[in-house]
Subunit: 204 residues, 2 copies
């Protein structure tokens, strides 16, 4: 197959350029490493294109600040200083979402997750970011903390040209069906299996 | 299983800290997306730890500069200016390796790949970097342009504390056997399958 030629040309009446510029819903799932890391790699690429990046970490306990947060926030600051790249906002659920001013009070994870999703919905409606990373967002869906039907409706009808990357294990099949690009990261071998623990710079 | 407890504690006489700080050989393989993106995400983390990062792109035609190159080189420059993070070197095979001063003359890909591997070997011997990304390095191995036995020997006996990440499809089983952490990125769904071409910010 010649490089650059897609195997199927859909009869959707769109030009290649229109099709090329469609906003993507991307899912990184599976039990292996690299789901979040690859999502942050996409954020890096997006920043370089001047995109407005919004990261939302739906993790139960975001005690530590991962390296990507430091670097992407630094890149966001660089944008503010020099105009290079794009702006970056990084929000995590750990001790209450940063926009809620209730830091440390969100003891109810279900409530916090629902609150995070409501904020993402608001931002999608107002086309706030060009790329959203919803990190570990499959878990609040799996646990019923956010309603899958609402997530699917919102993503399917999001306006404009907003890319969304969702990471986490066990992505619901209906989310996979809706997505444009889905990768399953599969564990072939992991140092934890031979008794090694995580290390700085590799795991965070 | 309690969080943070590895399922097996090996009888290797090492403390958890010693085991934790072992240099890793990481392989990202499979036909799916995210192999290189996740590797560059690790480089980002490493930079944030102050690591010296060396990237070597073993691609046949590196015509375009991917977003990660711009950003990681920018971060390397930031290190030189402010001391933040670590230094970054990015080399690609496309038009001759940048250290060889023979830009544009390397028409023989096999020769160029072998030259690239020789340079990586030299650097491993002198412990030049903390993290090496050997992007798409499975291909020159598969095509016999570099000798697998030499790669395995060199990696197995590399001195000091040098992490190596190798990406590319169809990683040789002996490389997988040697590696500490192997992830297979599996295609579940790809927009090319429905006739969409790559787009800026997502594919590069």
């Amino acid at each position: 197959m010649p490089k650059g030629l897609p195997p199927v040309v859909p009869e959707d009446g769109l030009t290649t350029r229109q099709r090329r510029n469609q906003p993507l819903l991307i899912v990184h799932t599976g039990d292996g490493k690299g789901k979040s890391t690859a999502a942050y790699g996409l954020a890096l690429r997006g920043w370089n294109q001047g995109w407005d990046i919004g990261v939302f970490q739906f993790v139960k306990s975001a005690k530590w600040r991962i390296g990507e947060q430091t670097v992407l926030e630094r890149l966001g600051a660089l944008h503010a200083e020099t105009g290079e790249g794009g702006p970056v906002e990084w929000h995590k659920m750990g001790a209450g979402w940063s926009w809620s001013r209730k830091e440390g009070t969100a003891e109810d994870h279900a409530e916090a997750a629902a609150e995070g999703w409501s904020e993402v919905k608001r931002r999608l409606a107002e086309q706030r970011h060009d790329l959203y990373v919803l990190d570990e967002f499959t878990y609040p869906i799996a646990w019923g903390w956010v309603e899958l039907a609402d997530v699917l409706d919102t993503l399917a009808s999001r306006p404009g040209h907003q890319h969304v990357v969702i990471t986490g294990r066990r992505a619901d099949q209906r989310l996979v069906d809706l997505a444009d690009l889905v990768t399953d990261m599969t564990v072939v071998k992991h140092p934890f299996q031979s008794g090694q623990k995580g290390q700085r710079g590799i795991e965070w």
